[in-house]
Symmetry: C2
Subunit: 354 residues, 2 copies
């Protein structure tokens, strides 16, 4: 067993070497920790900022075991880590744990988990093929959104269904995978709460941010969200219940719809979250450091917001304008190729708190 509080100089293994792994590694470095990254893809933008990059597949049990043997704790930057890969890590602590992965990897399991906590989720039904899609649509009603149960992100693996939609085509469009049909939630706005839970069970939530999407990808997060104090407190308490129920250690993103009848949970992500990037520049302790603190067994830091903030993603070739952005904190991920739809960086403007 690792000691309860890892000393500076300890090694943190991160599964996944994208921008979230990169920013986790930078936060780990600030605390004097060393980061190792495991990434199957040819390009791992976290590579140039870590002590060690292992390029091997999720099915390479030997590489996973060797990776784990050199670190004091393992965490992950994305929720779709194969559970067999987690098992291959051996005895090293993995934080947040297996349970969070099991829940968050399957939209249907996640909705059942949230409903079981008494939290409101969208009307939904399981879909296993074109026929059950018709049944589900009758049950949930149009408009609705068909989503694969597994492996969707940034709007991928999703199809919108109206009353006239060709169901077979929609089923084919998402790849013919087991899916869930979600009723459309008539929301006023989308917010998210990024919250951390320490190894001692202490919970610290960042202030809720308000999210705007473009083409299914997060465009901006604005903090504070334009919601009342009561709703903001509800959102934070709700996030805390989810963290406690999972005996969670680390940072989680909880996406919520604000509706006329209150909050509806859209989805949870058992990791640092794009909608929490504003914390880098508007809080003393940001989401990345909070996650590192939690998984290392350190007390959580001060996540209070010292400034109001607007975070804007830089997608695809928008990154080329980055050197000319003034009056903002610019964060770039060091990715070589600015493909359309690819998250290349973000920038955050802050203003004094209202």
């Amino acid at each position: 067993m690792a000691p309860e509080r890892l000393p500076p100089g300890s090694r943190i293994g991160i599964l996944g070497g994208g921008q979230l792994g990169r920013m986790l590694a930078l936060a780990a470095a600030r605390l004097g920790m060393r980061a190792h990254v495991y990434e199957p893809a040819a390009e791992a933008c976290a590579g140039p900022v870590v002590e060690r990059l292992v390029r091997a597949g999720w099915d390479d049990r030997a590489a996973l075991a060797e990776f784990a043997s050199r670190v004091d704790v393992v965490t992950y930057e994305f929720e779709n880590v194969d559970l067999a890969a987690v098992d291959a890590l051996g005895d090293v602590p993995v934080r947040p744990g297996r349970r969070a992965l099991e829940v968050a990897q399957d939209r249907l399991v996640e909705k059942a988990f949230l409903s079981g906590l008494g939290l409101p989720v969208a009307r939904h039904a399981a879909v296993d093929g074109p026929e059950s899609l018709a049944t589900a649509l009758a049950e949930v009603g149009a408009p609705a959104i068909l989503k694969t149960r597994r492996l969707g992100y940034d709007g991928k693996g999703q199809a919108r269904l109206g009353p006239e939609t060709d169901l077979a085509a929609a089923w084919a469009a998402i790849g013919g995978e087991p899916a869930v049909l979600e009723g459309f939630v008539p929301f006023e706005r989308e917010i998210s709460v990024v919250a951390a839970r320490g190894i001692d069970g202490a919970v610290a939530a960042f202030d809720p941010g308000e999210n705007l999407h473009r083409d299914g990808i997060l465009h901006t997060t604005t903090v504070p969200a334009r919601i009342g104090t009561g709703l903001a407190q509800d959102a934070v308490l709700l996030a805390g219940r989810i963290l406690d129920a999972l005996d969670y250690v680390g940072v989680m993103g909880v996406e919520l719809f604000v509706t006329g009848e209150g909050l509806v949970v859209n989805e949870i992500a058992p990791r640092v979250h794009n909608s929490g990037h504003w914390t880098q520049d508007a809080c003393l302790t940001d989401q990345f450091e909070q996650h590192v603190r939690a998984v290392c067994g350190w007390p959580l830091g001060d996540g209070r917001r010292h400034s109001d903030a607007v975070m804007t993603n830089l997608i695809g070739d928008e990154v080329n304008g980055a050197p000319g952005i003034t009056g903002a904190a610019v964060h770039l991920y060091g990715k070589a190729e600015a493909r359309p739809g690819r998250k290349m960086g973000h920038f955050t403007r802050i203003t004094p708190r209202d």
Copy 2:
């Protein structure tokens, strides 16, 4: 010649792999840049956060040339870079330039440079041996401080002289090196201005901080300094004159005494400076990013202070208490051995601006 504005993904070579190089590398990473570090010492705490670490001596011309050939610009984390080493780098731009090194490497040259700008410095005289020390002491008056012209830092290479001091012993104590005798400046407080100058000549200064030392090593920097607006403006303008006179590109630390007759320049450091570490947590753009922006030819960032701050150094085994520090931003350097007097990390508390 490198392009005027280096694109993200460019490589920055840093001479010196200590904590300043490490924090420069982390700031470079935030902007999507890749850092290479050149460090002769066996331990280079910047190593685990950079793309490439070269361990070779300052006299290894081949290693220096090879290092330079792989980067787009070279900068340095300390002022005592051998000028022959700079020459060995070849055609790559070195920022801040040679001139700043020449001036800052020799206390006597530095004082002549500052005096030439009409800036007040302490009374002083050159000392080449025990005999000229007696002459110098008669000229400058006791109490005074004998400092080696070159290679002193954190109080090393210094001796205090009173009317009764054995001059031969003092001369021996500083190593018998060419020296300068400085008259003691009866100061009310010590402040410093950390300022940046861009490739376009724009200057951006951080607010002056007030410094407290312990055993010759910086202990805390508090911002704002307890000085009037007029004096703060004087300090900033004075720093700007120094930067302009050197056609400087990058960040400089300017240490000042506040006296009854106004400001006296203590010394300048042509690099990021310990007394500027507070900017990491109280400004949108900190000194490290400001330096990276400057040497990459990017416009300077927004260095305004959003919060008041107190930065405290963690010296020697004080670092062991770091995991228990709450309500502060903790920055650790990842050094293996907590030797007495060694800078191991720092922490910064912020409060809303007055």
